[in-house]
C-alpha cells in the first residue's frame, strides 16, 4: 500500500521564534527540537498560545524561524513547498466557496498542473470516495456540514500525495462523536498514504490515539517539555483507548502539561479514564 516514493522526515533543530509588537518582544518558541521519522505520525499538544500552530507554520514555510532550522527530508521547507510536497489541513476547512467539492479537491492540481508527477494514483472520484463524500462531487461548500467540509479539505491535502501532512487542529470544531470517527478515518487514510504526519491538537486523547510520539509543549515561552512514545500497535482501535498502555500515556502527557505532582495527586487511573 505504501507509496513507492520516499517520504520525508521532519526535523526541527534549535528553532526559536520571537514576535515583536509595540517594542516588546514575545518569545513564541524557544529552542524547539523535534524529529518525526519518515512515515510516522506525531502530535504536538499544549495549551492555547504555546506556539504549536506557529511551529506547524514554520514547518509549512508560512513563517520563518528567528534562529535554528527546519528540514523536511534533505530540503528546506521552501524547497519542499515548491516541490508540492506539503499537505496542510487548517482548523477551518478553508474551502473556496464558489468551487464545487470536486473543484476544491482539484485546486492543487490547477496550481501544480494536471500532469504533475506528484498527482495521486487515485482519481479525484476515488479520493472523494475515500473521505466518504461520494455523491457530493457537485455540491458547493455551503451545502455541506462542518465535518463534510473538513473531509473535502483532507481530500484536497492528499491529491498531490504529500510527503509531509500537517494538520492544524483539523477536527477541533467538530462534535466529539464526529471527531472520533474522523480520527479513525484519518488514520486509515494516513496508513494507506505512507506520508509523515504532524498533528496539532489540544485533546490529550486524540493526540495519543493518533500518534507514535506526542510532543508536549508549555506556554510562554513555547518549549517542548516532554516527548511521550505511544507503544500501541497499529491499526489503532477504539478499544485501545481503554488499555493500560493508553492510560499510562495519558498520565505521562498530563505530567508534562501540568507538572508531575499536581497531575498524579489529582487523578487516579479510573478518573483519568473518565476524563477521556
Amino acid at each position: 500500500m505504501l507509496d513507492p516514493r520516499v517520504s520525508r522526515d521532519i526535523r526541527v533543530q534549535d528553532v526559536t521564534m520571537v514576535y515583536h509588537s509595540h517594542g516588546d518582544s514575545v518569545i513564541a518558541l524557544e529552542r524547539v527540537n523535534m524529529h518525526v521519522p519518515t512515515g510516522q505520525f506525531a502530535s504536538i499538544i499544549g495549551p492555547s498560545g504555546c506556539g504549536k500552530s506557529t511551529l506547524l507554520r514554520l514547518i509549512a514555510d508560512i513563517l520563518q524561524p528567528h534562529s535554528g532550522q527546519v528540514t523536511l527530508g534533505s530540503d528546506t521547507p521552501r524547497a519542499a513547498r515548491h516541490d508540492h510536497a506539503l499537505g496542510f489541513v487548517f482548523q477551518s476547512p478553508t474551502l473556496l466557496p464558489w468551487r464545487t467539492v470536486r473543484q476544491n479537491v482539484e485546486l492543487p492540481l490547477d496550481v501544480a498542473g494536471r500532469d504533475s508527477t506528484r498527482r495521486s494514483a487515485r482519481s479525484t472520484d476515488e479520493l472523494i470516495e475515500l473521505v466518504g463524500l461520494k455523491g457530493f462531487e457537485k455540491a458547493l461548500p455551503h451545502q455541506l456540514s462542518g465535518g463534510m467540509q473538513q473531509r473535502v479539505a483532507i481530500a484536497r491535502a492528499l491529491v498531490l500525495t504529500p510527503d509531509v501532512l500537517l494538520l492544524d487542529e483539523p477536527f477541533g470544531a467538530l462534535d466529539e462523536i464526529t471527531r472520533q470517527r474522523m480520527n479513525i478515518e484519518m488514520l486509515r487514510i494516513w496508513a494507506e498514504s505512507g506520508t509523515t504526519a504532524l498533528l496539532v491538537t489540544h485533546s490529550i486523547g486524540e493526540a495519543i490515539f493518533m500518534s507514535d510520539q506526542v510532543y508536549v509543549m508549555s506556554a510562554r515561552p513555547g518549549r517542548i517539555v516532554s516527548v511521550v512514545d505511544v507503544p500501541l500497535p497499529r491499526p489503532r482501535t477504539l478499544d485501545m483507548m481503554r488499555s493500560h498502555v493508553f492510560f499510562d500515556c495519558v498520565n505521562r502527557v498530563r505530567d508534562g502539561l501540568f507538572g508531575k505532582e499536581e497531575s498524579t495527586s489529582a487523578m487516579s487511573r479510573p478518573q483519568a479514564a473518565e476524563a477521556y
Binding site: D61, H82, F88, T94, L96, D110
Partner: protein
Amino acid sequence: MPAAMPSIGSRLAAVARPTATLIALLVGLELLKRGGLLPVFVPAPSQVFNEIIASPRLVTANLGPTAFKATVGFFIAMGISVSAGSLAVLLRGAYAPIYNTSVTLNSIPIIATAPLLALWIGTGPQVQIVIATLACQFSMLVGTVQGLRATDARQRELMHVLSASQFQTLRYLLLPSAIPYLFAGFKIAAPAAVLGAVTAEWAGAERGLGAMMLYALFSYDTPKVWLSVLLTCLLAAGGYGIVALAERLVVRHGREVELAD
C-alpha cells in the same frame, strides 16, 4: 439546494404596488396640468407620451447611440479598472499611484473637460466614450481593490502552501472571491456611464440623448426635454438592471456586498 423561490402571487404583488403608485402619480400630474395648476415648464404626461407617438424615430435615433457609447465606455473602464486594481493590490508600490490617478480622474468636472477633449480627439463618438469611461472607472476600481483585499488570511496561506504563483493566486483565489465586490462597483458604474455619455453629448454630438436634450432646451420644447430626461433615466436604470441580472447569474454561492465608499 436553491432557496425557496417566491410564489408567483407575491412576485405579482411586488410589481403591482410600485406600478399602481406610478399610475396614480401620472394621473395626478395629468389632472393638475389640465386644471392649470402646474407651471409651463412641467408638461402633462400625455404631452410627453404624444412626443413619442409623433416621432418614434426621435427616440430610437437618440437612445441607441447613447446606449452604445455608454456600453463601450463601461467595458473599457471595466478592463482598465480591474487590471489596474489587480496591479495595485499585487505590487506594493503601484497602489498609491493607481489609486491617486483614479481619484483625480474622478474629481475632474466632466462638463468642463468634454469640450476640451473634443478639441483634442475630435467630435465623434470617441469623446463621449472616453467621458463615459472616466465617469464610471472609480467605483469599479474601488470595488476591485476592496474585493481583492477581502480574502481570508487562511485562504491566502492555503495558496502559499500550494506554492501558487501570484498570477495563480489572482486567478484561483483573489478574483473569484472579489466578484461580489466587483459587481457592487459595476452596479454603481452602469448608471454613471450613461450619465457620463449624456453629459459629454452636451459638448457636441450629432446624436444621442444629450444632444436631443440640448436641442429641445434651446427650442423651448419642454415635452421633448422631459422625454429625453425620461429616456436617460430609463437607460441608466436599465444599465443597473442588466448588471444586477448578470450578478445573479454569476454569483451562485449566495453572497452580496455593498460598497462602503
